[in-house]
Assembly symmetry: C2
Homo-oligomer: 250 residues x 2
Amino acid sequence: MSTSDQNKEVCFYQEWMTLQEQELSELNRAIALKANGCATDAELSQLIDKIMNNFQDYVQKRSLMASADVSPYFAPTWCTSLERSVLWIGGCRPSSYIRLIYALCGLQIESRFAEFLRGARIGNLGELSARQISMVDRLQGNTISEERKLSTRLASLQEDVLDHPLAAIALNSGSHCTDSCGTADEVLDKHGLAMAGILEEADQLRLNTLRELVRILTPPQAVDFIAAGKKLRLCMQDWGKKRDLDHGRN
Amino acid sequence: MSTSDQNKEVCFYQEWMTLQEQELSELNRAIALKANGCATDAELSQLIDKIMNNFQDYVQKRSLMASADVSPYFAPTWCTSLERSVLWIGGCRPSSYIRLIYALCGLQIESRFAEFLRGARIGNLGELSARQISMVDRLQGNTISEERKLSTRLASLQEDVLDHPLAAIALNSGSHCTDSCGTADEVLDKHGLAMAGILEEADQLRLNTLRELVRILTPPQAVDFIAAGKKLRLCMQDWGKKRDLDHGRN
């Protein structure tokens, strides 16, 4: 295997996070134009399509990279401790997109936040119709059910590691397990492929959930929602970096 | 906060893994004495008690350390990628102890492994009584049910991160979220305490499951089982190190 796998993974992640910042800037520009009546729904939709396509590309490339070696994606060292502590199968929980919609609606509606949020850009999400809310609720139910299925399959895969043949290989290896590395590698490679399959399905669930949400929302609502999600994602990284520094982690 | 938190955590982990090697040597010595009829059940029990007390100490110290900052324990950078990919709430799944028992019984019984395992030290686990097997089965059911409860609570906590107040803080912060760090820190500290609570309960479930198993097994069986578990744990570390090296990870 190449000695630069780690470098490739870190670069790939850094490029992705840089793209997130660029996309957030574009979204903010579109939101400003929209507020002045200078952006049409078609223009907003075009931006959303571009962002969704970028996400799909990322998922496809990551899936290819993970098929070579999946294990780092389950708890990447290139994220901060804070980000790692909230990971679910290599990313955010798909249901958390929907939690964010609820949070944004709630923030808009709760009067005690009115002053706090003066000027905040979540305007359009306070105006979800009853039909939209019931569609979001239904999506939430389906998403949680799909998440649970994947969690259960991951649990079985994780338990399989302690089953034979690995238990047998470990028991029959010498004191430092080095003599058993070759045989263990074969079993672990096969296990890794199954884990990569779960990662791919989790990514697909994230992608599909986001696509469904964008379909339910109007273009101005979708732009606000995606911008809020990216802002929160980038803040998690910044907060995580600060906290790691505070605790002397590099 | 101290700048040496990371050092403390890494040292604590390394000491624990060194202790695992020492305990495995002691177990292997006891198993050899037992095979020659030179170790009594009382002597084996004493060794098991010592090992269980060490585990309890570890859990208590870790819980104290995690209450200061829990996030690194959910995906520790001091483990290999392979080890991190099979983690469940900062350690192994409690149900995997029981999977290991089943694997060891199976290995013993399956005749096609007979030659492969000639001389392997799992002798006593092939002789579980029907009563022991039914107790292990019941424990497995309870353990999986407790695991699911904790997984569900962790899922809620992870989703809470994307809810307000953090969503509101992120939306109202400047472009690099630095102005919101203080407020975010307070919320994240509170969230961290809840995560530390889950970690403590997961550790307690691991400890209790192991205690129950030791109670069900005879001292010679328990010694074989604990030795196999530690051997597998140490092999996972060795295999993980080799695989990280192969992929150019440090």
